[in-house]
Symmetry: C2
Subunit: 337 residues, 2 copies
Amino acid sequence: MRRSTQAIDVSLASVAVALILLIAAAWNPVFAQEPLPSWNDTPAKARIMDFVKATVTEGGNGYVAPSDRIAVFDNDGTLWSEQPYYTQLGFVLDRVKALAPRHPEWKTKEPFKSVLAGDMKGIARGGEKGIVDLVMATHAGMTTEEFSKTVSDWFATARHPRTGKPYTEMTYVPMRELLDYLRANGFSTYIVSGGGVEFMRPVTERIYGIPPEQVVGSTIATQYDLVSDVPVLKRLPKIDFIDDGPGKPVGINKFVGARPIFVAGNSDGDYEMMRWTTAGEGPSFAMLVHHTDADREYAYDRESAFGKLDKALDEAERRNWLVVDMKRDWKTIFAFQ
Amino acid sequence: MRRSTQAIDVSLASVAVALILLIAAAWNPVFAQEPLPSWNDTPAKARIMDFVKATVTEGGNGYVAPSDRIAVFDNDGTLWSEQPYYTQLGFVLDRVKALAPRHPEWKTKEPFKSVLAGDMKGIARGGEKGIVDLVMATHAGMTTEEFSKTVSDWFATARHPRTGKPYTEMTYVPMRELLDYLRANGFSTYIVSGGGVEFMRPVTERIYGIPPEQVVGSTIATQYDLVSDVPVLKRLPKIDFIDDGPGKPVGINKFVGARPIFVAGNSDGDYEMMRWTTAGEGPSFAMLVHHTDADREYAYDRESAFGKLDKALDEAERRNWLVVDMKRDWKTIFAFQ
């Protein structure tokens, strides 16, 4: 008795779902809208769309099975702004200030002293070691859940130094449309960033539609521990993996376990990931976001402290990678503009 | 013109998909079948089904949002047999034999000498260092793609020493049904195994329906390199991460970025993952597969060299984790029986 009742329930539910799909297909304006509306009608848009259309055209030369439609995106400077400094550095600076009352010794100890004095040149003088000290002081020594909550709370209140907008609104509308367009065509979309994976995961689903398990990034060592017999993961002051430059293909292989066919980046830190993605046997596509719009965003490339684009820009021409010119190719950059 | 044509094409395709779903819902016998048919009607099956039904019942106490329905499964001894030794050890032994002609020094050098002589006690005398030497000699020194092909080729021909069946048929039918059942109820299913991630990924999609990106395992260090200007990832003779014991929650946090609500294991190596999974705020479920059937599979627990189950068995009672008795609870174990 129970068996057949359940079968009928399931069938009815499925019929309802199918009917909803039918109605949605016939009426939903999304289906009738041209994709990538914030892109100008320049060759960049056409090249992207030609590639994607080919991957879904069964029987064609460019066809790619859905399970192989893997797209990877750098984050800083590719999906959201990385100027005047990386978002995660903004987090570090704010956290040092917030934690300073618990660390009176920071008043006289570099690189903390420079941070508390707002002295960016002093921070720069500390070099890589100074940055690592700052990261460890603000990213380690707590549980993964405590860190995640700290990050979420910070994103809720922190503001971009130039626009005064939340950092989560500093995302590029054309790139969010590109993520949507790829997913609508059966692609899986991943972030592959030099940023910390646990710094990004609390917000990527909401701002990009990318769930935690599709975020690849740098990791800090963590350790299982019991606190009052409750299992926790503690973040240790030790780098586990740097997902940048030659680390990006390593990270993709480790987390995703397959070679992507679509890659988007904006700096030399994405070069090896672009080489590896485009060295597969089948069709592939690589694009660079070139920051050319000082009015609406920023203009920088070969000389920039953040997101330096030099070697990869030369190679893009040689290898026929698409270079997206933000000023020329994008109708809108930020949603708030 | 182009715009409206495309819109019509998409709508027609969607209508077709919806119609197929309608027909499938009405006629597909899968919808009418009771889940977990290879499980006996013992309390174990009922407990699993009660939990899953609660997670999908909106408005109920046990409801869990689809994005949080994450299930993690150990592999060796939980999804496939780990006796008389781990499948991956079978691979190591076969690879040493296959590579021996290129390594004449192995004839007199331990632990290789013992492997070539089929002397399992000699291998055991080499201890952990000997095992690491064997793993590195067979798992490193090639590109990731070469290794993947070697693994696939091995699985195609290797046979289980007792049953003479391919290792890929040594999977437990009731557990494959459980994976299907969970997925049908909106769960994401992950493998979280002490085994090498690149040893499992070539077969997990085919035998469990689990794609590469949902396999978490131990990793070897890899390095991006150019060979004749072609980018490759080289496997180095260096452990990157051991996904066992306290490493399992660490691996889940790193790869998945969220706490699971369902966990299945069979040994003390799964204990910390079970503790961490069941320490979340919402509903959770933990189960142990207890190997009690010497006739149809193997019977072992507290004294076993592979898959030792001692502490976790004691804790299961204390913590009300489900202990599945293979002999009592499973109608079928292997599909070929």
